[in-house]
């Protein structure tokens, strides 16, 4: 057995390096996408690489790779026994279905299995490409560079932590570059592979450099990032999107409100209509509540029980007899609910009537969620009617509550809450002796202390920083989540039970359009109307909504006893109801809906924005490739043209052009006609390079043409032949 030649060893090492680098591309996938087959992919890559490295003829390698691909597909997706008729039928069906989706540009409907198939084919191709780059051309730099870019982008914009992978990639990258450089040296200097001892001398310093720079790089102090980590913001906007699955797909994405665990960061406006509503009076649309503040956001301490109902929501909201109730009626019609899978309802809701039959309700007293079920599946009705007893909260009664809290669940505060928050709460409420006035004082605290409503430039608390503390004492800039969360925390600090409510504001009142029968005012509620506010518990009344956010008004009605002032005040309050256009409101938790609704748009039809961009992108890439090819091949193309001209014309101008083209082509090859060099000297250089004397011969003719002013007519054939030989040599 011959041992492998040294050159092949080097190629193998380089190829191995490329495998390791490619694996660095695969590992993050588990974290940043919804795939969970990373290990399978890795196995397939290793298989492909080993096969490529064996250098067996392609008619052996390719079928084995294909077989491997099918086997992976079988393991992941197909149940029938491998390589049976049923298996192939299923596979064929899957393929066909997806191809038709592709044809229809229905990207969202593509199944996971097909995506995986495409990905495996990509990996297959990569195993070839990397073999060519690393083992044949031995030019690893660009792939290493791209690996770094990939890792840094992932680290910056996703939750993936690349601090270790980037070190690995660095070590692999430098080692591969070192080996490639060694290889180039050996090739350029035409050296034989040095003996093992010499090799150690070569490789030793490389290893030392890698080790040294790795340690230095690892241990050296580093600058803090100059801009805040964009991950929380991106998570808040992008969660739920990503690799959405088509019909029948596997992984379900989280829905509405799940991501309140980490609040903060700015958001962009989105005026997609979520639903239309018809109601006698503008009011907030409630969806659910949360009770546990973590220091960064909201979770639930208990999920509560869902109670089955055929329409009645009795017990969802309980008010005491002290609350005056007013019969009202509202209608809801969903347009683009996105990931909102719960019903919206009003304060005082009694009964919900789905317009369609076969639908039942489930509601949760603890969390305030109302779900609609069709055949046991949670499905939002297209529209429904709400019967309600609109409450008028009696302020005087609420003022009578002075004792400290009950309902421990709604007094929860994180241990990490800084003391100054509690001190501030005590300070705000010190003057008041009852629960209502205290709550009112906290509610008004924000508007009277210069807090600013802002949606774009909103801070995200660092790892151990408290969300409320940051807002109250540092930024004082934020949107509804900041205000409402802070109010709940401040109230709980002084033992007032309070909870956090999510829903929508009243929306924009429509004039002209008629989405509903009847004459009540109609409203359009968009994603911008998503909102959060506060409910405070009064034992003699129930849960009463408060609105701390600057620029928003509490839409609930309060009764102030019999005094004229109170009535006036109430009317004034109604009068002040803001126009919906002034409520550009979209807390981060709700933004996912926007993305989802976009996805829906893609699914439902014609060419969508992302597709357009990807087509433009593909066009740009194609154009770049064409230009690059033209640039690369321009000399060959021009040579064809020159050749023809040379054949047809014998004048000095043509010869001069042709000769100077040859000089350019030589310069492209690195043989540059130097300043102050004569043609004869240059020709000698060129001939030494090619080991022939064509250039000198041709140059002799050229010299006679330009320095002796001689015609080349009589030597035309010979000149032509020499020129062609040289051009072929140069462009070969």
């Amino acid at each position: 057995m011959h041992s492998l030649k040294a050159q092949q060893w080097i190629s193998l090492i380089l190829y191995g390096g490329s495998l390791l680098l490619l694996l660095e591309w695969i590992f993050p996938l588990e974290e940043v996408t919804d795939t969970s087959f990373t290990s399978t992919f890795v196995m397939y890559i290793v298989l492909c690489f080993i096969l490529s490295a064996t250098q067996l003829p392609y008619w052996i390698v390719s079928p084995v790779k294909l077989l491997g691909l099918l086997f992976v597909m079988h393991q992941l997706y197909f149940e029938p026994t491998f390589f049976t008729k049923a298996w192939f039928e299923l596979f064929w069906l899957d393929l066909n279905t997806n191809l038709s989706f592709l044809w229809a540009r229905d990207w969202v409907s593509l199944t996971s299995s097909f995506r995986t198939l495409l990905f495996l084919i990509l990996l297959w191709m990569l195993s070839y490409l990397l073999y060519y780059w690393f083992a044949v051309r031995k030019k690893p730099f660009s792939f290493i560079l791209f690996t770094f870019i990939y890792l840094t982008v992932l680290d910056t914009f996703t939750a993936f932590d690349a601090s270790t992978p980037i070190i690995r990639a660095f070590i692999i990258g430098v080692a591969v570059m070192g080996v490639a450089y060694l290889q180039h040296l050996l090739e350029n200097e035409n050296m034989r592979m040095p003996a093992m001892k010499t090799m150690v001398k070569w490789i030793g310093p490389l290893l030392i450099v890698i080790g040294f720079s790795t340690i230095i790089g690892y241990a050296a102090p580093k600058y803090d990032p100059i801009w805040p980590d964009p991950v929380p913001f991106i998570q808040s906007t992008a969660e739920g999107s990503g690799y959405g699955d088509g019909p029948g797909g596997g992984v379900q994405r989280i829905g509405y409100g799940e991501n309140d665990e980490r609040l903060g960061g700015g958001f962009v406006q989105d005026d997609t209509t979520v639903f239309y509503a018809q109601a006698p009076k503008s009011q907030y649309w409630k969806v659910e509540t949360k009770d546990t503040y973590t220091g960064h956001g909201w979770t639930r301490s208990q999920d509560g029980q869902f109670e089955h109902s055929e329409g009645s929501l009795e017990g969802l909201q309980e008010y005491s007899d002290l609350v005056d109730l007013n019969d009202d009626h509202a209608q809801i019609q969903f347009v683009e609910p996105g990931f909102l899978n719960k019903l919206v309802y009003t304060y005082g809701v009694e009964h919900v009537t789905p317009v369609h039959d076969g639908m039942s309700l489930e509601f949760n007293r603890i969390t305030g969620e109302v779900l609609s079920k069709v055949d046991g599946q949670t499905r939002l009705p297209e529209s429904y009617e709400i019967d309600m007893q609109r409450p008028f909260f009696p302020v005087e009664e609420m003022r009578t509550v002075t004792e400290k809290g009950e309902l421990d669940q709604y007094l929860q505060l994180p241990d990490s809450l800084p003391d100054r928050v509690v001190s501030l709460a005590e300070e705000i409420t010190a003057e008041h002796d009852n629960r209502y006035d205290k709550a009112k004082a906290v509610e008004e605290f924000f508007s009277s202390n210069g807090f600013i409503y802002e949606t774009q430039d909103v801070a995200v608390p660092d790892g151990d920083e408290d969300y409320v503390d940051q807002f109250l004492f540092e930024t004082q800039v934020g949107y509804c989540d900041n205000f409402s969360t802070s109010m709940v925390v401040l109230l709980r600090s002084v033992d007032i039970p309070a909870r956090w409510v999510k829903g929508f504001t009243e929306g924009e009142r429509l004039t002209g359009e008629d989405y509903f029968e009847g004459h009540q005012p109609e409203y359009e509620i968009t994603n911008n109307n998503a909102h959060s506010w506060v409910e405070v518990y009064f034992p003699n009344v129930g849960w009463v909504p408060f609105e701390p956010t600057v620029g928003f008004n509490n839409q609930s009605s309060f009764s102030y006893g019999e005094t004229l002032d109170d009535i006036l005040e109430e009317e004034e309050q109604d009068y002040e109801q803001p126009e919906s256009s002034e409520t550009p409101e979209l807390p981060e938790g709700e933004e996912e809906e926007e993305d989802e609704s976009d996805d829906q748009a893609v699914a439902s039809g014609s060419m969508s924005q992302p597709l357009k961009y990807s087509l433009i992108g593909a066009g740009v890439v194609l154009l770049t490739i064409i230009i690059w090819l033209l640039m690369k091949k321009r000399l060959v193309i021009v040579s064809k043209w020159k050749k023809r001209k040379m054949e047809n014309y014998t004048d000095v101008e043509t010869f001069t052009e042709a000769y100077q083209f040859l000089l350019r082509a030589l310069a492209h090859k690195g043989l540059v006609f130097g300043e102050g060099q004569t043609l004869r000297e240059f020709a000698v250089d060129v001939d030494r390079w090619f080991g022939e004397n064509h250039m000198s011969q041709l140059t002799a003719y050229y010299e006679r043409a330009i320095y002796r002013d001689e015609s080349i007519d009589s030597h035309h054939a010979e000149v032509n032949q020499l020129w062609n030989k040289l051009v072929n040599d140069v462009l070969a």
Partner: protein, 318 residues
């Protein structure tokens, strides 16, 4: 290239070989001297005594069967010692002209910087004008006429260095330099019994030489080459390290020398390579290097090399 020209050029090779029998390992100097002879120019040899200056010029004269004259320049030499004098012949009752050494074909002007400027200019003017005037009579110099003047670069005591204007009249300035060890041993071998110069046979005669000189004038110089010459000359004028650049006469000299060199190289057209090669020899005595350059340790030759390296060679017709 005419058939006749080719045969003539073949003879040149035999001349060179002939002289090489005497001057061992001095092919370049021989070529350049022959070049100057063919171009009807004159040569200034600047070298220490004993390296074979006289031998070179004598063998050249002998190869062409030419009349060789030697003038040893001394401080008391008079112009008439160079040109010749009219002496009253009592028998014939008239003045009779006794020709001076300048009326030979090949004149060796040894240690030209030792004589007074008056005598120097008598020689140099006649070199340029190709005739002399003695006592009101103008006499044409012989053709071919070739002066090889020597200067000792080491001794400056009691010398009259030639002014730049005079130096300009020499086509080339050469250095012979010491022979290499091997060459010197070979030289000893050859001179052990009798000097090879005594055995040297003529290869051509005077007529042949005149024909060669005629041929050289017909060597083609293309516009591109003329441009290249002027670019180079212009570059010396603009070069910051030269106090004085080369004159237009230098351009002519460079062209003439290049023609002769091309002819020796068996071509009937001049190449940029010829110009490149000759620049140093033709221009080095025609420029004045600045004192800054000297201070920087540069020499005329190194600056000229630099100019040649940086001047772009025309590679298109016209």
């Amino acid at each position: 290239m005419t058939q006749q020209m080719t045969t003539q050029q073949n003879k040149i090779e035999s001349i060179l070989q002939n002289i090489e029998q005497v001057m061992v390992g001095k092919r370049e100097a021989i070529e350049l001297s022959l070049l100057a002879l063919l171009a009807e120019g004159h040569v200034l040899l600047e070298d220490v005594p004993g390296v074979g200056k006289t031998m070179l010029v004598r063998s050249l004269a002998k190869s062409f069967n030419l009349d060789f004259k030697r003038i040893q320049f001394t401080p008391d030499l008079l112009p008439s010692d160079v040109t010749g004098v009219s002496i009253y012949n009592q028998k014939e009752m008239n003045f009779e002209f006794r020709p001076g050494p300048i009326l030979g074909n090949i004149v060796l002007a040894d240690e030209i910087n030792r004589t007074s400027p008056k005598t120097q200019s008598a020689l140099l003017e006649s070199m340029e004008e190709k005739h002399i005037t003695v006592d009101g009579t103008t006499m044409e110099l012989k053709r071919p006429f070739f002066v090889m003047a020597t200067q000792n670069p080491i001794e400056y005591e009691g010398t009259y260095p030639l002014p730049e204007a005079q130096l300009d009249r020499f086509l080339l300035k050469l250095n012979l330099g010491y022979p290499s060890i091997d060459d010197e041993i070979q030289m000893l071998d050859r001179t052990s019994s009798e000097h090879p110069i005594d055995r040297l046979e003529a290869v051509m005669d005077q007529e042949d030489l005149l024909r060669l000189q005629e041929d050289v004038t017909h060597v083609h110089v293309s516009d591109a080459i003329k441009k290249y010459i002027v670019y180079l000359i212009d570059a010396t004028r603009k070069h910051p390290l030269f106090d004085l650049g080369a004159s237009p006469r230098a351009s002519i000299a460079l062209m003439k020398a290049a023609k002769a060199y091309a002819y020796i190289s068996k071509r009937d057209y001049v190449l940029p390579d010829d110009i490149k090669y000759l620049t140093k020899h033709v221009l080095s005595h025609r420029v004045i290097i600045s004192s800054e350059a000297k201070f920087e340790g540069k020499t005329t030759a190194s600056i000229l090399d630099d100019i040649v390296r940086k001047t772009i060679v025309p590679i298109e017709r016209g």
